[in-house]
């Protein structure tokens, strides 16, 4: 199993850096096409939630990303430094408003990841764990 750890200040531009790092890991393990696209999408959704909601865009607070790759799946744990992480998830608002400017990220995670789990870090931040299978049939998508 290979493991990679990154951390980022909660700034707007950190997402691009994170996606560059993620792309490097995916290329290293020759994970391409639909799986790479789906993994990048779900990790980016958890990452922006951590940055904006967990860390309130405070650049002093970090978003950490742990990636593990084994023969059967690629897993990402995305952690923020906020508080009451699980409460934030259970009280999240959902909207059916097509014209909403936010609120689609968790839906994307649940649609495109093969597994989504939420837990709290020891300090109370939210940890989102996402995985995409590498060897078996995955969730329905044309990708």
């Amino acid at each position: 199993m290979a493991e990679y750890n990154f951390s980022y200040a909660s700034r707007l531009e950190s997402e691009d850096q994170m996606l560059d790092d993620l792309q490097s890991v995916l290329e290293l393990h020759e994970i391409v096409g639909g799986r790479a696209w789906r993994f990048s999408l779900v990790v980016s959704e958890a990452f922006t939630n951590a940055l904006i909601h967990g860390n309130a865009s405070d650049p002093e607070r970090l978003v950490s990303l742990n990636i593990q790759v084994n023969e059967s799946e690629i897993i990402a744990d995305i952690a923020d430094e906020g508080v009451c992480g699980l409460d934030r998830i259970s009280h999240r608002s959902s909207s059916d408003d097509l014209m909403a400017e936010s609120g689609r990220g968790i839906g994307f995670m649940e649609r495109y990841a093969d597994r989504v789990e939420y837990r709290e870090s020891q300090r109370g931040g939210l940890v989102v764990s996402l995985s995409v299978r590498l060897t078996e049939a995955t969730k329905t998508s044309q990708f």
Binding site: E13, E15, W37, R104
Partner: protein
């Protein structure tokens, strides 16, 4: 992300390259605000070179469309990669936005509207 503008007739065409994410979406909103401030409210987005979009990018597009509608303008898009199209389809935003297969088709629709 990079945005290159070409004016074609009365329409400002924005060619977007790269990731339409949190930072890219912010850049797009700023660019469209500048266009609206200079009375350019017919705006076409060519997304041919967008290689990534997420919910932040979608949110920016929705925000952009609201601003343009408020200015009584029109927003169209074209050349969506298949995975970008899937994102629009599953969120049903493909019913909200005017999406054309090609830029030419979109620009023809502006010309047709102008002659009515």
């Amino acid at each position: 992300m990079e945005i290159i503008r070409h004016d074609k007739g009365a329409c400002a065409v924005l060619y977007i390259t790269g990731r339409l994410d949190l930072a890219g979406g912010t850049m797009l909103k700023e660019q469209v605000k500048k266009l609206l401030a200079s009375n350019n409210s017919s705006i076409h987005l060519n997304l041919n070179s967008v290689d990534f979009i997420n919910s932040s990018g979608l949110g920016a597009l929705v925000s952009t469309m609201k601003e343009i509608r408020l200015a009584r303008g029109r927003l169209t898009m074209s050349n969506l990669a298949s995975y970008v199209q899937e994102i629009f389809d599953i969120t049903q935003l493909s019913h909200i936005f005017e999406i054309f297969k090609t830029e030419e088709e979109a620009l023809n629709s502006y010309r047709a509207a102008a002659t009515v």
